[in-house]
Symmetry: C2
Subunit: 374 residues, 2 copies
């Protein structure tokens, strides 16, 4: 067997993440190691923390990164916020809402679901009915940008519905933060998390998360410790607090890269990036519709960072997607659930969200679909 | 406030890890992103898996990385192996054995401790007594190289003691794997984990772990799922199995780097690296003793990758260590527990384990200690 040669192809990444990482960010991630409590690293963590507050649009003191994938941050939120027997309302309108449901089951909470069909957002009226039917609710959770369907949830409206119940509100923004408008404090969201490798275009492995004072209060008053030691917020916080101490070894190089990715976000401006993402998404809808694709989601509920497009009749989904990847170096993702084999999910996240990539996708697809579609 | 400039100093890292990362490894870690199920990435994972089997000296099918720090791998092992009520014997002879104890408490097992004073290994006779006193034991755990004290545990002998009990044996090799002799299959160890950033000298963030068939059998027959969804072995395994599927986004760039770090290990040869580490450690003992340091651990129990050295009388520990770091760019760590303020922990891990670094440490310390020691 010839020796394996590490030579990853240079892909145009239009999948659900990871997105393409700018060279500046990759270079930052290849700077030399320092100790996990090196003064230079502690200083960097403080800078990143401040950058994350600007990204989340929050003044939350408890703003940090979890060392792991976005799913680790999801479990960190759920594990710290929930004690057995708590009443939780979990909104499920796609794959990631359902993942949260699975985690709540392990957390042994009293679980109530509010669902919507895949491709539609949660109806605030349905949430309201469920909340009204319960004596007390400790926590409500929802996914802002469902990567599985391409639906953006109007979290501002949902937060208004949740407020009278006194419940904490947890929102997954893995596929949206930095690409789609989200205002943590203004909207009154208690806990928000995301990943480094989606709209931020840093390498994967660090997951930003923020907790309101109200959420921290609840966590500090727990009767039992969270199930996980690794994801225990108060133990992790020792690393991020003043006079930081050891909890685990931080991901030094990925933190360098995340910092540089957040520099790029600051240089562009958060609102400018939201606008750029929206504009590029509009171009994508138009180009795909020209080719005979149909958009799954109604215009007002479309997540600009991820588009689910149903393929034109007569196209063999998986072989076409494979050809796109292996012959043209363009990654898009297949549909999930009922849409497997029928739809593509096309991501426009961070550095991957470029009009030239949409044009290239259109050019290649025009070629490939010639004579194939009915 | 002037804008923060990311410019980490080039340190000589002689702490408890992370170790210095070779330029080849850093460069590999700055290659472009691909999708988490990209054929090129899946191929890489298979190669890394095989490299990890060579490193662990195992043929275990269930050999993979956990996306997180070494502590995540520790919790993965404990969380998957333990069900509430299981009988567990936890050996504690330092900080990391005690960390395992804390995790077992959250796992609600019937916990029995075998302890040794900091600076000494677990006495196999004590373990035997405890095992003999129990009707059945499900799991025994021990730390191979205690980073907190610099003691190496004779795991081969311990494994012989455990064998008649039928218990599974879990060993933490975070500070030793790749630097000190360890033979997973030959010694009969069921579960072993380590970190990427210690003796492998890759960036932190991925933690190799391996499970014997016997361990997997126990996990497959659990009555309840593990507490953690993120660290659930069987869910993670979907990503590493044939026909891999999505569980979480792998740390693409860190995996590139880990692969290159494992290439370096293969090029040098595992046994050669064990020998180099031992030789370099002998030089370190000699040089430190020349300066008036006293070794905490008896020669036969010394962990070559980490040395605890008690400072000469009259030296102000923390200021001296700070001077070493900030003026000479050399990192060593302070003592823990009773040894705080009295001892240093000097690491010789992977790429940081170089004779020239020991000579440089000696040269600088000779300067600094002149006229200070009593």
């Amino acid at each position: 067997m010839p020796k394996f040669q590490l030579a990853p192809p240079q892909r145009i990444l239009l999948g659900p993440g990871p997105s393409e990482v700018p060279r500046r960010v990759l270079n930052a991630g290849s700077l030399p190691a320092v100790g996990y409590l090196d003064p230079s690293f502690i200083e960097l963590m403080k800078v990143v923390q401040e950058q994350l507050r600007e990204m989340f649009l929050t003044e939350n003191r408890y703003t940090l990164t979890i060392t792991g994938a976005g799913t680790a941050a999801m479990e960190c939120a759920i594990d710290n916020l929930c004690e057995p027997g708590d009443t939780v309302v979990c909104c499920v309108h796609g794959f990631f809402g359902d993942r949260m449901r699975q985690m709540y089951e392990r957390a042994k909470v009293d679980l109530h679901l509010v669902t919507a069909p895949w491709g539609e957002p949660i109806d605030p009226e349905n949430l309201k009915k469920t909340l009204d039917s319960l004596d007390k609710v400790d926590l409500v959770s929802v996914v802002h940008g469902e990567t599985s369907t391409g639906v953006v949830q109007d979290v501002k409206t949902l937060a208004e519905v949740v407020k009278p119940s006194g419940a904490l509100l947890l929102v997954d923004t893995v596929a949206s933060m930095g690409g789609v408008e989200f205002r943590t404090d203004e909207w009154g969201v208690d806990v928000v998390y995301t990943g480094s490798q989606k709209c931020l275009s840093a390498p994967p492995g660090l997951s930003p998360i923020t907790f309101s004072d109200r959420a921290v209060e609840k966590i500090k008053n727990r009767k039992t410790p969270p199930k996980s030691w690794y994801l225990d917020l108060m133990l992790n916080w020792k690393y991020w607090d003043d006079n930081p101490g050891y909890h685990h070894t931080g991901s030094i190089q990925t933190m360098y890269a995340l910092h540089e990715a957040l520099n790029l976000l600051q240089e562009e401006g958060l609102e400018n990036r939201w606008a750029r993402t929206k504009e590029t998404a509009e171009l994508l809808y138009q180009k795909l519709e020209n080719l005979g694709f149909k958009m799954l989601v109604a215009p007002e509920h479309r997540l600009p960072t991820l588009t689910t497009a149903i393929l034109p009749e007569g196209v063999d989904e998986a072989p076409m997607r494979k050809k796109l990847l292996t012959q043209y170096n363009i990654e898009v993702a297949g549909g999930l659930g009922d849409l497997a084999g029928k739809a593509w999910r096309v991501g426009l996240m961070g550095h991957s969200c470029r009009k030239e990539s949409v044009h290239e996708l259109h050019r290649v697809l025009s070629e490939l679909l010639k004579g194939v579609t009915v």
